[in-house]
Subunit: 457 residues, 2 copies
């Protein structure tokens, strides 16, 4: 049998600061633009976001202190463990060393509470009483419901109707923490009523749910909006993952040759990879690889252009890789990765060749996840399986070349609420959903026109 | 906000020995009896159990060494954290200090792998290739499937048919780890065929599933049977919970006035309470309180008598508290607590007044679990909610009396696979299932006759 290497840190190692990658990027990030094509100002954001979060969104400071109240909550599950995957290495027969940072230890079961807790805190101290948000698969909605209960804030979650019906257990979990969960589109918002007027049987989409949550926050003084990925401040909060991981690897005298993370909106990528970026800029050999689904290939097939964050066009325009804001990705079981756009920071770093994205198909990810579960015990979330598939390919390549590389990845969450997907895979009912090429091309031709800045991939 | 007190131990503190409470019991345990009323011999058990496990079942040694191979697997999630429930204390306004030992950190989500890993190991080194077992709610089946995948053993799980149909996600998890899961009753065993002949629509029961799994193991040389509670060796393996907890409390200079644990077959009770028993014998003031459901009140309403462990009568006779082997408890959502009997060790210690059992009704346990989830973040398993309800009552009593007692309990697992129960509770669809008094009385009058030893409560 293999020994277990589980690298733990004590509470004194919960990071005291979030790391702001903007301070170390070769080029400043492109500004968000308003409907008039002009850069938006902080004032325009504080209508729906807490002032401290807007300040973080725009900050160029390298280190931003984490309030003690937030660190106290983090300590419920942090520092999270870093594992050496001895048993997976043995199963693959690879000379590579594989490490995984396990974020499923949070009460919500993923890395999402790292930002949810911070967002709830800053809204609490800003005097806000209610938070609105959207959720697809339910990971972010769960995280915010948990954070709301910790700080005594009301939480309303617009949950995409098809998920609301198909994933009742994530909904029950949010309700257990006291949140109100609505099947979107609702009749409570203009955006929802519009969608229902077009199609009374509308199954909902993340785009519509975002519009509903933003509209509610914009119309109520006691309510702010929160988002679980994409934005700079969300990725900022997640950098505690990579900071802890660096320390844990130091304890065993190791450093990664390559880092993989699943990529939907970019919060995992920012979390694990940004804290290694300065090393890379300083000449260190390290590959940083976001892994996305081939069915929603934003970074690998999208255009680098200004686009909306939602389908309706209520958000600012962001310069990012996008499949077009009206592209609807096929239904796959890694719901957290079904987003037409991506974080502007992750996009820019890909554009500049600092991150190197790749895409993997659905069936391979479940095969990889099951191999991982049998070897390492933990049943991964379908999102995490994307990283695992990339890791296995890299480790098998090392087997061929004989290189004993050090491979690191984020196991972003457990799959306890995704067993229906595993069940379908085991019963041979899953396929490699391909996107309709014609729809993708149509969506890409429907990007908003922004004078002099829209560029092509 | 409250600080978080999470007391961690490093891997050097994973216990090196299991603690055998028999060495410190005031009276030796009553022997198991065969069908002829005579004590059974080790030889009679090795037909379906690994020899090392039979030796542990019968051992009177105080300390039994844990093989390094087992400790290596334990280290995937152990030592498990001990938390001080500051936020729950504040929510209750109690002067009491509340600690909980969280066993939901295992990949299977409960304390069950503590014994499953040990049982799989001893069967592996005995040359066994396959393990059979039964599962109701799925906690034990999951744990054994995980352990089987770690040691390369085939696992077949007879899952009570009604659970198989109503809880497909636990089943999918077992299959993800490579186990074969069958809806019991099956047509593969005599016990199953008998049940189906009586009732082709038979929804199954834990008793029938045990009979099927035992029958399979008895009929195949390459296959052994495993059980997730009740037996001495299972409780023995769980004592690592209490051993770790003692060390963790020492680190913060504390000691419990009272300990609560949910009680079905007794593995939680043995795990957390047995390591405190010698202190109590030495005069230390400590209350040890198993908590069971009022709908299946084995310890509080059963008879102390020799009875079978299964419904069909294939197991040895054990002197224990029992509701009668043909008593079928009402369907409640804490499936792990629906057992007609109880561990012989736990029963004897209750009979002798060393443990003091109590029972709580279902609705109160869900109310308690939701209060806990909102305060502490973790959504508990319905079984664990029984302990939480007792803890809350004790803490509120402390509020009345002003006593700053130290209360400890086992949070035996998370509720990720039990959200349908929370959903029903939140929708007002749950009731306090009462057992049919007539059925209970009938079952109690149907206890097997054993010359000179059957006693009444």
């Amino acid at each position: 049998m293999m020994p277990t290497t589980k690298i733990l840190l004590d509470e004194s190692h919960i990071p005291t600061h979030w790391y702001n990658v903007i301070a170390d990027m070769p080029n400043p990030p492109a500004p968000y633009l308003g409907p008039d094509g002009k850069p938006i100002t902080p004032d325009m954001m504080t209508n729906i976001f807490a002032p401290d979060l807007v300040a973080q969104e725009m900050s160029t400071e390298r280190w931003i202190p984490i309030p003690q109240e937030v660190r106290d909550i983090y300590h419920l599950w942090r520092p999270s463990p870093l594992y050496r995957a001895h048993r997976l290495e043995a199963a693959l027969g690879t000379p590579a060393k594989i490490y995984y940072k396990y974020e499923g230890v949070s009460p919500a079961g993923s890395h999402k509470p790292n930002s949810a807790v911070a967002q709830a805190y800053y809204n609490k101290i800003a005097g806000i009483k209610r938070l609105s948000t959207e959720t697809g698969a339910g990971q972010w909605g769960s995280a915010l419901s948990l954070a709301g209960s910790m700080f005594g804030l009301e939480v309303r979650v617009y949950m995409v109707k098809v998920s609301y019906q198909q994933k009742p257990f994530r909904r029950s979990m949010m309700e257990t923490w006291g949140a109100e969960v609505l099947a979107s589109p609702t009749t409570l918002t203009q955006s929802g009523r519009q969608a229902l007027a077009k199609d009374p049987e509308c199954p909902g989409s993340l785009g519509i749910a975002i519009s509903e949550a933003v509209e509610e926050a914009a119309s109520r003084k006691d309510t702010n909006y929160t988002l679980g990925s994409v934005l700079n401040h969300v990725l900022l909060h997640q950098t505690i993952i990579g900071q802890e991981t660096r320390k844990q690897l130091e304890l065993v005298g190791d450093y990664p040759d390559v880092v993989f993370a699943p990529c939907g909106g970019g919060s995992n990528v920012g979390g694990i990879m940004f804290p290694f970026l300065a090393d890379k800029a300083a000449g260190k050999q390290i590959r940083l690889v976001p892994v996305e689904p081939t069915s929603c290939p934003t970074l690998t097939r999208g255009h680098y252009a200004y686009d909306y964050g939602d389908s309706v066009g209520l958000t600012p325009l962001m310069l990012m890789y996008t499949l077009g804001h009206d592209f609807v990705p096929p239904s796959i079981h890694a719901g957290g990765l079904r987003y037409h756009g991506d974080s502007a920071l992750v996009s820019q770093l890909c554009k500049e060749g600092i991150l190197e994205a790749m895409a993997v198909p659905q069936l391979a990810t479940f095969k990889a996840g099951i191999l991982f579960a049998k070897a390492e015990g933990i049943v991964p979330a379908p999102e995490s399986n994307h990283a695992i598939q990339a890791v296995i390919d890299e480790a098998l390549l090392c087997k061929t070349t004989g290189e004993p590389k050090t491979i690191l990845f984020t196991l972003s969450g457990h799959g306890h609420f995704d067993m229906v997907a595993y069940d379908k895979y085991l019963n041979g009912e899953l396929t490699d959903q391909d996107y309709p090429e014609a729809d993708l091309q149509a969506a890409l031709h429907n990007l908003p026109k922004v004078e002099g800045v829209a560029t092509r991939n």
